[in-house]
Symmetry: C2
Subunit: 379 residues, 2 copies
């Protein structure tokens, strides 16, 4: 049974010291429902993706949006939590159980962390220094070594995404930066600089999913088909030979391509998990959207720009739009919907028919805790 | 599409200071797989229910059970987390996506709490004294006032469940208690005493779910059909007139009865969420298994004993078996499986064909955060 996204909404991502996770999620949920043009009483079930929001967060959001009563499951898959919420909604509709399902994601990170995210108590590798920036710094060095990628090429990923973000009123960063700005920003984990890293963000995003049965009634003209929602478990690629390549991203993408009946060559644009500049490189190459080893050079030539051969992260991505963990995967789909509907304004990718969203999350360096999602949406 | 439970396993519930959540879950998962007699390579997806286990807990368990790679979502619905994991697995099979799905739940509460569970940071009512024991104490008083329930009748619920637990080698408590023991135990929140309250527990439980398609091959003779897996959101019943009755439990049960095509009169036994002695009363009456107001008297006459008219919590329930939050809902289904297969030993309910499992969880007193599940299994 086909599943469609019929409504999408999000809050502005950024620092929201005067609000909490429930408040942010309520705004996103209400915007998605309004966008869908659906009577909220028709929503039959919901999924809430978050990491740090505490017990029964989703239920609290339902109570404040007139949706109390319906089934809801909170889901957690680290940075893939929001995308997992969408996947569970997709499965529930495919099970024939429901026709209209709400999926949302939210995080209020600035409540929990004063500065950068710190490793969890039981994260021994993190405590010893193998934090997320350190892991990605090693991977950047490896990509440079294997493929001759330059520091400037990596910086261009941030430049592109922050430029895209400046065209997105919902993005945390509204100002473009230059390659020089990136290279001159504060060192974080050599060779990565501050502007190579996504920020700490608060925010929420929501989508309304609908079955084939009701999509006509709700307005097929603005509906986007969710052609695949794949999820895999794997390991963080610390160690050789895979540190500069992501088998987990590749496997998840292959599953998604197969289910959607499309190949990487059919993808018109993608939102990928660019938690660091190097991360976008690893994702895009893992997804098969660009040849392995070539993405930084091609991106620096403009191929991944809006208007380029295959735009990556037109929304601004995590680097530009921000990264409130649970909200991220849902916000990617919000961008897919806006692009595929032709409603992306100055960020619009002309003629976009197939969009892909990729998330990855998990323990910094453990061999054991990565979750990866690939969602494909089509017009 | 019909969904079956083909394997079930659990750890002993109790205090496990020398183990952690992953270690406990691995034991339960391995036991469930062994019990199912299925090659673990046939397991296509998994769900992990937990509350306090931290990020990507389920993925860590997969890595240590030879299951890394498959899709997994961690789900959280407070005390209904484990049951929600089963429900999501049930939906994923019904979606036609998978034929064999693992669902497990786990909690290591003694790592997180030294004594009783404390209210969360944002739980204002809890901070002001409206903790779980206080809420249930008020509800006990209300049931006494409305229906003439006596303190001794309430105590008998604990007596029955701890006696059942003494017949269950996996239960935290192995010794029967008397009504006098309950009444003489330490006061917690008047009129509730220590032995009216479930303990703080560590433990894990797991089930293997299978589609109609593969159940014949895996051995239909030991398979149990999961006839319904219903989930609802609602409010904790603080306030009149509902404090002594649970509309949320009633609504969830009605949904489950309808989906399973059975009524409360068809249920041969039930595992219900007896976090306190009074809680069992509210659940059983909400489920329609006993007339509203009459359960305490009837239970005290032996109707809910193993061998009685309609046995409640033959496993020992939360009061006797223990309550490691995320594991609880899954352990209930482990008991359903053992009873329906006729493998419950000295706890066996003769001729059991229909079993029901009920969980409820959520914020102590908030109007907004309750999740309720009702699962029905049949032979």
């Amino acid at each position: 049974m086909d599943v469609y996204v019929v409504g999408a909404g999000m809050t502005k991502f950024g620092k929201h010291p005067d609000r909490d996770a429930v408040d942010l999620a309520v705004e996103a949920v209400n915007e998605a429902i309004r966008d869908a043009g659906v009577d909220r009483r028709r929503i039959q079930a919901a999924y809430c993706g978050h990491v740090y929001g505490g017990m029964v967060l989703g239920q609290k959001v339902l109570a404040r949006t007139g949706l109390a009563g319906i089934p809801l499951a909170n889901v957690e898959n680290a940075c893939s939590s929001g995308a997992t919420a969408i996947r569970e909604g997709y499965l529930a509709i495919r099970a024939g159980e429901y026709d209209v399902v709400l999926a949302f994601g939210v995080e209020h990170l600035t409540t929990r962390f004063r500065g950068a995210l710190t490793p969890g108590e039981e994260d021994l590798e993190g405590a010893l220094g193998l934090t997320m920036p350190a892991v990605y710094a090693m991977r950047a060095v490896r990509h440079m070594t294997e493929f001759g990628t330059t520091r400037e090429e990596l910086a261009y990923v941030s430049v592109k995404n922050k430029r895209n973000a400046s065209l997105n009123p919902y993005a945390q960063f509204q100002n473009p930066v230059t390659v020089e700005d990136v290279l001159n920003s504060r060192p974080i984990a050599d060779p990565l600089r501050l502007l190579d890293c996504c920020p700490v963000s608060d925010g929420a995003a929501a989508v309304v999913l609908a079955s084939e049965r009701v999509v006509g009634e709700l307005g097929r003209s603005r509906a986007v088909r969710l052609a695949a929602a794949s999820l895999r478990t794997g390991t963080v690629e610390v160690g050789l030979p895979s540190m500069a390549f992501e088998p987990l991203t590749r496997a998840t993408a292959q599953d998604a391509y197969e289910r959607a009946g499309v190949g990487p060559e059919d993808v018109d644009f993608a939102e990928v998990h660019d938690c660091f500049s190097i991360a976008e490189v690893l994702r895009v190459e893992g997804l098969g959207l660009y040849p392995v080893g070539e993405y930084p050079k091609r991106a620096a030539r403009g191929e991944a720009d809006i208007g380029g051969r295959l735009p990556i992260n037109p929304s601004g991505g995590l680097l530009g739009k921000g990264h409130p963990l649970g909200a991220t995967g849902v916000a990617q789909v919000v961008e897919l919907v806006r692009q595929l509907r032709g409603e992306a304004g100055p960020r619009q990718i002309e003629g976009a028919r197939v969009g892909l969203a990729h998330c990855r999350g998990g323990k910094a360096a453990g061999v054991e805790g990565a979750a990866c999602t690939v969602l494909i949406a089509t017009r």
